[in-house]
Each structure stands twice: as C-alpha cells, then as structure tokens.
C-alpha cells in the first residue's frame, strides 16, 4: 500500500483495535509489527477486562472501554474465551471493607454497578477463599478473555476492510513516516505509535518504561473459582512505580486452569525469572486461596507492561513530531483500555470530539520525571 492514510506501528491489543477503528471509518490503514501480532505485552497478559478507579480519568476511560467490550463480545469467536465472570475485589481487613464501600460510591457515579459482600456472602460466592477475610466488592460487569486470539480477530476484520498488516520492524520515525530495519521509508498521512513498552525506543523523551510482571498457570481442573479475584491492595501495588511488589490476583480460565499473578518490578527488559519475587507472589496467592498450594503448575512466564510515571496512559498527538499520534503507556490495563484508546485516537485523527474527556491522557502533559517516580 503506497501512502496509506494511517500507519499504525505495533499490532498488540491497542494497535489492533486502533487499526480496526480507523478502517471502519474508511481510512486506508497499514499496520507494521516486528514480531507476532498479539505477541508483545498482549501475549503475556492475564486478559482481565476490569474497571479501575485509580483516578477519575482512568475510571471514565475504563467504563467506556467496558461498554465497548460488552458490545463487541457477542461477535467474538470462541477462541477469544470471553467470559463475563466479573471481578471480586477482596477486603482483607475492616479498613479495606470500608474502602470497598467508598469504591462502590465512586463506581456508581461512573455508572458501574457493584455489590458489597460481607464475610459470609464472600464465603458463599467463593468457597475457596480463606476464611477470615472481611468481605469484598463484586463488579459483575468485568470480564476475562484470551487476548492473542482477539488481536487476530480484530486484524482479520481490519484486513477485510482493506487494511494491510506487514511483518517488519520499525527503526525510526519522522513526521508522516517510518523507516523499516531494511532502510526503506514508509510514508503515510499520519503515524500512530502503538508499540507497547518499546514505544520509547521510537519516540525520544516519551515517558514510557517497561515494568516486568510474572504469571504462573496451573493444570486444568474442575472450575471452583467463579470470579477474577483481586485484593483491594492491588491498586497500591499497581500505582506506586517504585521497588518490587506483589499483589494477589487469581483468574479462573474457561478450562478450569488458574492464572496466578501479580508482580511488578523495574528491571528494564531483563529476561528470565526473579524467583524470589515469584515465591512472594505465590505465597500471597496461596495464603488467600489455600487450595492453590496443591494445584499443579505447568508454566511460568514474564511480560513487560508499558508504564508511565503518573499511572495514566499516553493517548493523543505528540506535539514534538507533526502528524504523530501516541497510543501506549497503559501499564497493567492495556487489554481493558484498548477499545477506548482506539476511539480517542480515531476521534483525534478525524478531528471529532472524543467520547470521553481526553486531556488527562495527553502524552505531553506535565509529569514527574521517571527517575523521581
């Protein structure tokens, strides 16, 4: 395709939704990915589609994204493993239960319905959770999915609308253009950088850094956990961009397997495992779901979240380079936020009003520096 309207760099969950959104509006779209589409951060993720309320801007974007996921769900193939299981936020103490009540009010304002469970109701909803917890907050609108298969479906739809996907790595960008590793320059009307945690390598000074996470998966078993279970303390772990941390996060797959997270650490793109952190993560998980201790583990892996210093994504024009748009920095929420991100980018490129206020995500907003964060 010579001179497409839009060149999308990166075919992860964000790039795939964006490419489809643009193609649906009749634009000629070229997507370039240097790896396997859906094989970056997206291929390592849990696939929890979850509303978070770290900030009002994040909450509004999540609520819009979940509306988009629920609309898209009936059209997804079985391989997407879309499962409207909902989230159960666990309160380990009375203080955390008070936090659950506060959260319920905040969610209600954004139109997200929830249900506070006391200790007894929690025990009934999830018998495998250790006794002694204070309760929880159920968010029935949240869901679970298998991200790589969704990327594949979205790209196939974009291709059916005329988009082209090529397997090439980009080495550099300039206004309206990108240079492939073989030296050739691709020209386009505008360029969208959706290269996940690697985006910073293409856009100088873009405040995005990789934040490593571990996951562990068990063998198949009859399904005995019904919601994605996350401790309320998770938000703290996710928000604070400091040293290494773990938080309880367990997901039931449609196969009855359990996917166990989560850990966070800043180690660049280091491969391999941090066994010490992994042990903390697994200890935390089996303290809250004791039955996990006896379940067999078939594999562990790590992935890199595209993190920003203020825990909000970077979505919008990048003033330092004309005709260049940024769609990254979603940290641990990029699967969830991808459709909403695509909507903001499409509206921005077409000069339409955004579906949700977008100022908070402006990539050039003032931000703490990465070193100080």
């Amino acid at each position: 395709m010579t001179h497409p309207d839009v060149l999308v760099i990166g075919a992860g969950m964000v790039g795939a939704w964006t490419a489809l959104g643009l193609a649906e509006r009749g634009l000629r779209v070229l997507v370039v990915d240097g790896g396997v589409p859906g094989g970056g951060s997206t291929g390592a993720a849990m696939g929890h589609l979850v509303v978070m309320d770290d900030s009002p801007a994040q909450l509004a974007l999540c609520a819009h994204a979940m509306m988009r996921w629920r609309t898209a769900a009936p059209e997804l193939p079985p391989s997407a493993e879309y499962d409207p299981a909902g989230t159960l936020w666990l309160a380990c103490s009375d203080d955390e239960l008070a936090e659950a009540h506060r959260k319920q009010e905040v969610y209600a304002v954004a139109g997200v319905s929830t249900e506070v469970l006391d200790a007894v109701a929690l025990g009934q909803a999830e018998p495998l959770v250790a006794p002694g917890l204070a309760g929880g907050l159920r968010v029935p609108g949240d869901a679970i999915c298998y991200p790589p298969a969704i990327v594949r479906t979205l790209l196939e739809r974009a291709i059916a609308l005329g988009a082209i996907v090529i397997n090439q790595a980009v080495r550099a960008i300039r206004p309206g253009g990108a240079q492939l590793t073989d030296g050739t320059w691709l020209e386009a009307g505008v360029v969208v950088v959706a290269a996940g945690p690697q985006s910073g390598m293409l856009v100088p000074d873009l405040p995005v850094i990789p934040r490593r996470g571990h996951l562990v998966i068990t063998e198949r078993a009859p399904r005995r956990i019904h919601h994605q279970l996350v401790e309320l303390g998770y938000l703290h772990s996710a928000h604070t961009l400091g040293g290494a941390s773990v938080a309880f996060n367990v997901q039931p797959r449609v196969t009855g397997q359990l996917l166990v997270g989560s850990s966070r650490e800043l180690v660049g793109f280091a491969p391999g495992l941090n066994r010490e952190l992994l042990a903390m993560m697994l200890a935390r998980a089996s303290a809250i779901v004791p039955a996990l201790a006896g379940m067999r583990v078939i594999r562990s892996w790590t992935g890199f979240r595209p993190a920003t210093p203020d825990a909000l994504p970077l979505i919008g024009a990048w003033p330092a380079l004309e005709r260049t748009w940024i769609a990254t920095g979603h940290e641990g929420l990029g699967i969830t936020l991808a459709p909403a991100t695509a909507d903001l980018i499409v509206a921005g490129i077409l000069g339409e009003p955004p579906p949700v206020p977008s100022a908070a995500f402006a990539p050039d907003r003032p931000m703490p520096t990465l070193a100080a964060a």
Binding site: V36, G38, P148, V216, R220, L273, M280, S286, A293, S300
Partner: protein, 426 residues
C-alpha cells in the same frame, strides 16, 4: 524439605545414566541417580520386580549397586542454576546442590498425527511395549505395529511371546535402505543374534517395508486400520495399533538449563560436555544410537564429570566415534518418508492437551505465532508431544521451556524459590 549436596547428579537411569552413575561413584564421588520411573533401567530395561533382564542389564545394575551411587525415584522440576536442581522426590521437593550434572534423559517416541491416532487402542510402538511391561494382557489380541527403525523388532517379538496376534509390522523405510543397513549393522554379532531371535519369535507376522498407517478407524475405540504398503491401501481389523515415527532425543531439562542443541539432540563434545560448564550429557538425549553407545557415552560422561581430565574420553574415542557413525546410519536409513507428513488431514488432532487440529495451523506461521493464536503446545505436556510433531511437519524450533518441569504442586515449587542460594544445611 531439605537441601542435599552431591558431587555428581545423574538424571535418567537408562543405560547411559546407569553407566555414568556407576563410573563416577566408583571414582569416589558421591552420586545421586534420579529417574522418574519406579525402577532403574530406562526405556529398554524397564521391568517389573522379579522380571528377567538380559545379562548386560543385570551387570550394569549390579555395578551401580556396588558403586555406592544413590538411586532415587524423582523428577527434576526446576534448575535455578546449573549447580542447583529442584527435585521432586514423590511429592516432596528438595534442593540438590552439585558440582556436576549428567543428563541421560533418553529419547521419546516421535508421534506424528494421522486420522484417528487419538482413538483408544492406538499407542506408540515403545508405548505398547511399555503397556505390556506394565501388565497389559495381549493374549489373542490382534495387533498392528507401524514405525521405523530397529525398535520394531523387539517390540513385535515381545508381543508375540506374550501371545498376541501381531498381524502386520510396518516399516516406513524402503526395503532397499533397510537391507543395506542390515548387512552392515548385523556384522556386529550381538545385534545379529538379537535380530534373528526377534524375527524368529514374531515369524507369523507379515513384515512390510515402505509401509505406514493411513488412518485408524473406530467408534469408541480402535476397530481397524487402513495401511499403505508400497503405495497400495488395505484395511486390517485389529484391537491395538502401536504407531510412531521413530525416536527423538528428550531435551526439556537440557533446554531449561540453556544447553545448546544440534538439530533435535543435545550438542556435546568428545568428553560428552554440553555448552554449559558443569553439565554433561550421554545416551539417546545426545542422538539416537542404541543402548551400547549409551553405555559407552555414560562411562565417558561419568568419568569426565567426576574429574578424570578426559582420560576415559580418549581411551574410548574410537568406539565413541563408531557409535556416532552408527547413529548417523540409523538416521539416514530410517529418514522419514514425506508421506508420513502428507497423510495428515485437517481434521487430525495435533495438540491433544488443547484440542488443536492440524487444519487450525498455517504452516507459514512461526512456532510462536501458532502457539499464541491457536494455543498449540500450551497444555499440560507443554508441547512434549505436539512440539516434536510440529518440528517434523513444519520445521519449527522446539518450544521454549519455562519452569517448572513436570507440573509440581504450586506450594512444593514455591517454597524453594526464595532461598535457592542460601548456604547448604545438610
């Protein structure tokens, strides 16, 4: 839960591992010999208590017993460092520190998909023999064997001896190639006697070359197979089918440890050293070449791992070279015919764990793309079976190995992860 320390840990108690363990222990080293199977002997000498074994096997087992090597039923589940193994001793995971590791993990059967291969009643060739050794009753049962290489002979013979009706034995290689190999290989008196004995035992069976299974048929379980012999198809009613496409080195642990491969085998030098210092490998995991070569390589690996400075390796250099040459002959003679790949249909199951059929795969994909998009190889066996098939069908690299191996219970594995490098206690 405790820590152990040994000079040498040998993983796998087949011919190579037994020989490595006996050699290193007789040089005064403290040796731990691990195998997940309940009794030592590996694939070829797998046996039940009290069963009779060939003299060679009894001799080697006696040597191990007298050497002082400690044999344990155990599986390696993780290797945080080349000198630190996490070992599951029947549900209890211990940390084993060691100066040297000898990998003698043997080979597994290459199971290539064909229509019906997942029906109950269909197993591998060695797999059927393992069932027989495990007590399967085959008297009067109608059996078809389809495979390649010398393994067909002992398996057919032992089934016949147990009273099975081995209706047909199919060797996929053409007769011309096998005949050429036979005259060379049978110059070795050992092998000649074995071959004659095995052929004689299974004399009632029809032996075919250039022959393979086109499909297995049946409702609830196997009822018949359609075979191709020299291009002509025929249907045979039967109760069991043992089908495989030869053997392939078993390398998960080696790959976890970061050892380089050469083709599908662990790469080793003349002293059986792998690319990772402190790790040696011997036997079929370094290339399929039979039990005699495995014993010899085990002796070299055991001696170098025990620190003999390469003396054993130079003494056995010629014999070792002959073993490798024999392996090469095996590989050439029993190279897979293209039909073994093209007989697959889109409906044939590729990955049993994740229910992925051949038709779901685009051969132009990379292994990683196929895995992410279709979940092939993501199941409990982690591609041990379908990864081998994908290499044969699509030329893909073996899948990346990530800890843990052998699916240990979460807590048993997690407990050790925190203090893998703290000082030794016991």
């Amino acid at each position: 839960m405790r820590r152990r320390r040994h000079d040498v840990v040998v993983v796998g108690a087949g011919p190579a591992g037994l020989s490595a363990a006996a050699t290193a222990a007789s040089m005064g080293r403290s040796v731990l010999l691990l195998d997940q199977a309940p009794r030592p002997g590996g694939q070829i000498w797998r046996h039940r208590a009290g069963a009779s074994l060939p003299a060679r096997a009894r001799h080697l087992l006696d040597r191990v017993r007298e050497s002082g090597a400690v044999h344990a039923v155990a599986t390696v589940v993780d290797a945080p460092a080349p000198d630190t193994l996490m070992v599951d001793f029947g549900g209890r995971v211990d940390l084993v520190h060691t100066a040297a590791v000898v990998l003698a993990t043997g080979a597994v059967e290459r199971l290539l998909p064909f229509p019906g291969w997942t029906l109950p009643g269909v197993t591998g060739v060695g797999g059927l023999q393992a069932l027989l050794k495990g007590g399967l009753q085959v008297r009067g049962r109608r059996i078809v064997l389809a495979g390649t290489g010398p393994l067909l002979y002992p398996v057919a013979a032992s089934l016949a001896t147990a009273g099975a009706r081995v209706l047909a034995v199919l060797e996929q290689a053409p007769f011309s190639a096998v005949a050429k190999f036979g005259t060379r290989a049978l110059r070795d008196p050992h092998r000649f006697v074995d071959a004659v004995r095995w052929r004689a035992t299974a004399w009632r069976s029809a032996w075919h070359h250039d022959a393979w299974v086109v499909r297995a048929e049946g409702g609830e379980r196997l009822e018949a197979v359609t075979i191709s012999v020299g291009g002509r198809e025929r249907r045979i009613a039967c109760d069991w089918l043992g089908a495989a496409a030869g053997l392939v080195p078993r390398t998960e642990l080696a790959r976890l440890l970061g050892c380089a491969l050469e083709g599908e085998a662990i790469a080793v030098d003349a002293t059986q050293a792998t690319s990772i210092p402190g790790i040696w490998a011997a036997g079929e995991c370094t290339g399929v070449k039979g039990d005699a070569a495995a014993v010899l390589e085990g002796e070299i690996a055991g001696a170098t791992a025990a620190g003999d400075g390469g003396g054993m390796a130079s003494r056995h250099a010629v014999a070792r070279g002959q073993g490798i040459a024999f392996g090469r002959q095996l590989a050439d003679t029993f190279a897979l015919q293209p039909a073994l790949r093209t007989r697959v249909t889109p409906e044939a199951m590729l990955c049993r764990c994740e229910d992925v059929r051949v038709g779901a795969i685009d051969p132009a994909w990379t292994a990683r793309q196929a895995k992410l998009w279709t979940r092939v190889g993501m199941g409990v066996c982690q591609g041990t079976v379908c990864g081998v098939a994908c290499t044969a069908l699509y030329g893909w690299e073996p899948p990346q190995v990530r800890p843990p191996l052998a699916a240990p219970p979460l807590a048993a594995w997690a407990r050790w992860l925190t203090d893998v490098d703290s000082p030794t206690e016991s």
